[in-house]
Amino acid sequence: MKLLERWLDRTAQGVALLGALGILAMMVHITLDIFLRSSISVSIPATQELVTRYYMVTLALLPLAWVERKRSMIFVEAFSGLFGSRGLRVVDSFVALFSASVYAILAVATWDKAMEQYDIGSYVMSLNFPMPVWPTYLILPVAFGLSTLVTLARIPLLFTKDREE
């Protein structure tokens, strides 16, 4: 159990690191593109495609497991008082189970999509250059799959804490 927890923490931090690198890369890339085109009239090739297909997909979706791990998903807190502390634990396990199911469905669905895109070797035209985009579709099943594990792992933890108290 402890081992799984530690592995999940590491993985969550790993995807966060990749996401942060995505942010950094996007910032540097767009700024450099603007700088080069206004100083020496040169554009970095495929900026728009890299930003939308690579950086955005990486930084928005990949860190999802990390966001779940630190419980930063946005939810409506207003009614928490209704449940009481014991009830809240039951509700939280339900939320964890529910979330895990939704993530699992997403993981399977996006995996199929990723395989389809891999099969056709999908690309987009960046001016006159065919820019491959199929690899970016693989980010989704990874992101949703890890989120499934993270939310599932929360359930036993809720009751372990119960015993410790």
Binding site: A16, G19, A20, I23, L24, M26, M27, V28, H29, I30, T31, I34, S38, Q48, V51, T52, R53, Y55, M56, V57, L59, A60, L61, P63, L64, W66, V67, K70, S72, M73, I74, F75, V76, E77, A78, F79, S80, L82, V91, D92, F94, V95, F98, S99, V102, Y103, I105, L106, A109, T110, D112, K113, T136, Y137, L140
Partner: protein, 431 residues
């Protein structure tokens, strides 16, 4: 049959939100279930498999993480305290001068900060202790900053406006321009509230600050140059044609990073914090966007949007009646929901109605952001209040802060009435 499924979906959504299911997952699961009831599981899954990718891979949306990053870097590198000192040079001689200064410092910081929470957090850490020290009632000091923070989402850059622009398909630059007027109007209205309180209740807001420290005006104004330079870089570059509003975020973030390293105010730890906060905010926000775009699809397919639209057309409210309904909807939603969720859940229903009424969507974007920002300071869920509690918790309890901010709601409602009564105010900068 679609319509029954649509209404059942809305009801189920509310139930899921009450039992604390994350907003994004509630939206996604209800849409998945609803679409599969109407069109079969295969169709629903196939849409679900494509929506997340199609939603996030948008050029315009890339501005969201960039503007967030710019704000978080400024905050963590303390560029904000310089702004506060500079504002004090101008306003501290007024009754309630420190509070007024903090409101205008918030407005200044708003020009480099994309969100209201980041703005409130940044100003709260420096201004609240000082107000309390100078004899302000702590709850009022906290309330001032919580309210002042909302200006962060009104004066551009504004993430709320960007997300609205993407959904309503209107020019983000034009919504930004409308936000400048309303942001400044909000600041002025808050300053008047502070003046009035100081005049009526000197026990809450001292007319003359005690322990008045000496500020060297030259030094204070010098401290503000990094923020000014940054605002100049972003707005100057945007309006003189070096880059578009979407690209401005990246330039701003890079500028903030370089500047704060140059003035030696950013170390490795705070840089890391800025990046991770940007990441967490972007990711939790865009997944709601994915859910909302699925939900839009579900509502349109169920025909519920048509029913509501024709219901409103059948009732045929006047412009004023319609606006009262809209304001009421957002004030009620704003009590419980965070602004992105509230906006993305309602737009699919409201935008078609506005089309019938030929309402200017740029104008509405500004009104919408103002209304959503009111929700940031109303109980029981007020994100700005929570943030202030986080950064200045030793001065006031949650209930105290809600009490302290209440008076500013009066100013907010006046501004809302002005936006609706005199729509031209919003469009001043656009013409």
């Amino acid at each position: 049959m679609g319509i029954e499924i649509g209404f059942a979906g809305l009801a189920l959504l509310i139930v899921l939100l009450v039992v604390r299911i994350p907003i994004a997952l509630a939206l996604i699961s209800v849409s998945l279930g609803g679409i599969s009831l109407m069109f079969g599981w295969d169709t629903a899954i196939s849409l679900l498999a494509s929506k997340p990718y199609e939603f996030v891979s948008k050029w315009t949306l890339s501005a969201v993480p960039m503007f967030l990053l710019m704000g978080f870097i400024c905050y963590h590198s303390g560029l904000t305290s310089g702004l506060f000192n500079a504002a004090k040079v101008f306003f501290r001689w007024l009754p309630g001068g420190i509070a007024i200064s903090s409101v205008f410092a918030s407005s200044g910081f708003a020009a480099v900060c994309g969100s209201s929470v980041a703005c409130a957090a940044a100003m709260g850490r420096i201004a609240i202790p000082e107000m309390v020290k100078s004899g302000y009632k702590p709850s009022f000091a906290c309330g001032t900053i919580a309210a002042g923070g909302t200006i962060g989402a009104l004066i551009p850059p504004s993430i709320l406006m960007i997300v609205y622009g993407v959904f309503a398909q209107v020019s983000i630059t034009q919504v930004f321009l409308g936000g400048i007027t309303i942001g400044l109007l909000t600041a002025i209205s808050y300053a008047m509230i502070i003046l009035a309180v100081s005049w009526l209740r000197p026990d809450i807001v001292p007319r003359v600050a005690k322990d008045a420290e000496n500020i060297d005006p030259t030094r204070a104004l010098l401290d503000v140059w990094p923020v000014l330079l940054l605002a100049l870089l972003v707005f100057g570059g945007m309006f003189s044609g070096f880059f578009t509003a979407t690209e401005a975020g990246a330039v701003g973030a890079a500028g903030a990073l370089l500047l704060s390293v140059a003035v030696r105010k950013l170390d490795w730890t705070s840089a890391k914090k800025a990046f991770l906060e940007t990441l967490a905010t972007t990711s939790s926000l865009l997944i709601i966007g994915i859910g909302a775009s699925m939900f839009t699809l579900f509502l349109s397919l169920s025909g519920i949007a048509d029913v509501l639209t024709s219901a409103v057309s059948g009732w045929d409210p006047s412009y004023l009646q319609l606006m009262i309904v809209v304001v009421a909807i957002y004030l009620v939603l704003g009590l419980f929901m965070e602004p992105f969720g509230a906006m993305l859940v309602t737009l699919p229903v409201l935008l078609p109605i506005f089309e019938v009424y030929d309402i200017n969507l740029i104008w509405f974007g500004v009104l919408l952001v103002k209304l959503l920002e009111i929700g940031m300071i109303t109980p029981p869920v007020g994100m700005n209040i929570f943030v202030i509690r986080g950064v200045a918790g030793k001065y006031a309890s949650l209930v105290d802060i809600f009490k302290g901010v209440a008076i500013f709601l009066v100013a907010d409602l006046v501004v809302v009435a002005l936006i609706i009564g005199v729509p031209e105010i919003v469009m001043v900068m656009n013409n």
